[in-house]
């Protein structure tokens, strides 16, 4: 029987958690040399694009914060005969691999417990981190090469993989459309996506009538969309950061081209809807692939997590409204992955009996299983450092600024719609 240690009654609003933390700190001070004072500081670094992709970065940081609140007593955690004060440090990678590497070096210098990472720059940073026995837990990017249990024993991931997204897109799109155009941006995210799409469509490469690169920062993507149209595409698969997805949709619809647009989890980023808020109908029928938010056992665990998240941080407002005037909120999918990763990090810390032996800590993390916030098991072992399996990728379609699982995919059709309005 699986336990749910993280969704305990401690899962209270942020105010209560802060009050508890202050109380514990005050009590410790009053006791003069008590166990609280002897708690060693231990930092979890969040390495994410707080300026480049703030909705993604904030979701990751909130997920980490919430897990620390849930698993510790006001930030204090006992592991073996040691007590630790768990801190969360947020470092902006600015979507730059070089800055991401600098941040990881800072984490190494600070003897951080682990880095919870959006994924940017991991190709550059994993080696230095591995030498310092510093685990990196990716919770957004899905590039296949980023995670390799043998070559990169310190890198773990809880997020849909690019391979899973691409194959599931192939399963869903290929039977419907026979002339697809791939539009990928020139970031690492897009480049890795292009590789995954090519592999997934290797079963029939002739279906792909155009490979088009979307230059970062270019707001008018009409020339690229026009190329796809002239190539005869009857569906677009866009693998890009949110602003580029919005620009592609805008370019297609403003030409009156009602071509189906399929995309990745970035399609659900609030920025897409914010950019298209002037033409809400353009968002309709945009379909994106992402990890299933609810597990086989039903929606209750995820809804409980969502409630805890909103109690702690308030709802993540998308910044748009439905036709009825309801404010649209963003379900905490990527916060959930960061939450689960942090649960695994802290669970491994306790199993390892502390953080003194970092090499042992990484090995223990590599054999850790926790129950995720949605009830799914997140399990690492010597052959597997991935927390989301390919078959757990589902599809959702936008309508009236909110999204719901599609009905023409077996997995998606079995999933409930998550509440997204206030």
């Amino acid at each position: 029987m699986r336990q749910r240690p993280h969704l305990c009654p401690r899962h209270q609003p942020l105010g209560l958690a802060l009050a508890l933390a202050l109380c514990v700190a005050a009590c410790g001070g009053g006791a003069g040399g008590s166990s609280t004072q002897s708690a060693s500081p231990l930092t979890i670094v969040v390495n994410a694009p707080f300026t480049g992709a703030p909705t993604v970065a904030d979701a990751i940081a909130n997920g980490v914060d919430l897990a620390v609140q849930a698993r510790t007593q006001g930030g204090l955690l006992t592991a073996g005969d040691r007590r630790y004060r768990i801190r969360v440090s947020k470092l902006d990678d600015e979507l730059s691999p070089l800055q991401a590497l600098r941040n990881v070096r800072t984490a190494i210098d600070d003897h951080a417990l682990a880095v919870v990472d959006e994924g940017t720059g991991v190709d550059a940073s994993w080696s230095a981190a591995n030498a310092a026995h510093l685990p990196i837990g990716i919770t957004y990017q899905g590039g296949q090469e980023l995670v390799d249990p043998v070559e990169r024993p310190n890198v773990f991931r809880i997020a849909p993989t690019d391979r899973g997204l691409a194959f599931r897109l192939g399963e869903y799109v290929a039977p419907k459309h026979h002339k697809v155009a791939f539009l990928v941006d020139d970031t690492a995210y897009g480049t890795q996506g292009r590789e995954a799409l090519d592999k997934a469509w290797a079963f029939d490469p002739k279906q792909v009538v155009a490979h088009i690169v979307l230059p970062s920062g270019q707001t008018d993507l009409s020339p690229q969309v026009l190329r796809a149209q002239r190539a005869g595409a009857d569906a677009l698969i866009v693998w890009a950061r949110a602003p580029a997805i919005a620009s592609v949709v805008s370019a297609a619809r403003s030409r009156g081209w009602e071509v189906p647009v399929y995309t990745t989890p970035a399609g659900a980023d609030p920025i897409v809807r914010q950019q298209l808020a002037g033409h809400p109908q353009w968002v309709d029928a945009l379909i994106f692939a992402s990890g299933r938010m609810t597990a086989e056992e039903g929606p209750a665990p995820f809804e409980q997590f969502q409630q805890s998240y909103q109690s702690a941080f308030g709802p993540d407002l998308v910044g748009v409204k439905t036709k009825q005037g309801s404010a649209v909120t963003q379900p905490p999918e990527f916060a959930m992955y960061a939450y689960d990763m942090t649960q695994a990090l802290l669970s491994a810390l306790q199993t390892a009996g502390g953080a003194d032996d970092r090499a042992r800590y990484v090995r223990v993390l590599g054999a850790t299983t926790v129950e995720g916030a949605n009830g799914d098991a997140r399990s690492f072992n010597r052959r597997n450092h991935e927390g989301v399996i390919d078959d757990d990728v589902a599809f959702a379609r936008f309508h009236d600024m909110t999204f719901a699982p599609v009905k023409d995919d077996p997995l998606s059709a079995s999933l409930p719609t998550i509440t997204q309005t206030q």
Partner: protein, 149 residues
């Protein structure tokens, strides 16, 4: 005269609606059930597949498993089957079968009414065996996906 015709037409319409309503209720229920079954791809019975399943050569097929349907969804082979026995039996049968067949099992999970066994083989073949205890005939629904790079 006109009133009589209108009354008859109204009566006929009312009866028709009532009749259709009753029929639709049953058919709607059937359709809903079928849709639910299709959505979850539950397989509790069916004739054994006569041709190739589409799964890789040497893919483990534990004793008690009957393949019923196969299809190609783009790059992925999907096989629907059932297992004669209970969930524990199906779960253990698949877990035990992969290693001798040369596959790794990076992830497996068993819950009260369902279980999953993921598999991979060097060369890029991966997939999942999803087991669901939703049959009332002593069988377990089996759904196998297979993806190759």
């Amino acid at each position: 005269m006109k009133r009589s015709i209108v009354a008859l037409l109204l009566l006929a319409f009312a009866l028709g609606v009532a009749g259709c309503g009753g029929g639709d209720s049953d058919s709607e229920k059937q359709a809903e059930a079928a849709s639910k079954e299709a959505a979850n791809e539950i397989t509790c019975d069916g004739t054994a597949l006569s041709g190739d399943s589409g799964l890789p050569a040497g893919f483990p097929k534990p004793s008690g498993v009957t393949y019923v349907k196969t299809r190609q969804d783009g790059p992925t082979t999907v096989v629907n089957a059932y297992y004669q026995g209970d969930l524990d039996g199906a779960f253990n049968a698949y877990k035990d079968a992969f290693d001798p067949a040369g596959y790794d099992v990076p992830f497996n999970e068993k819950e009260d009414k369902d279980a999953e066994v993921s598999y991979e083989k060097s060369g890029g073949t991966t997939g999942l065996v999803a087991l669901k205890a939703e049959c009332d005939n002593g069988r377990i629904s089996v759904r196998v996906t297979s993806r190759s790079d």
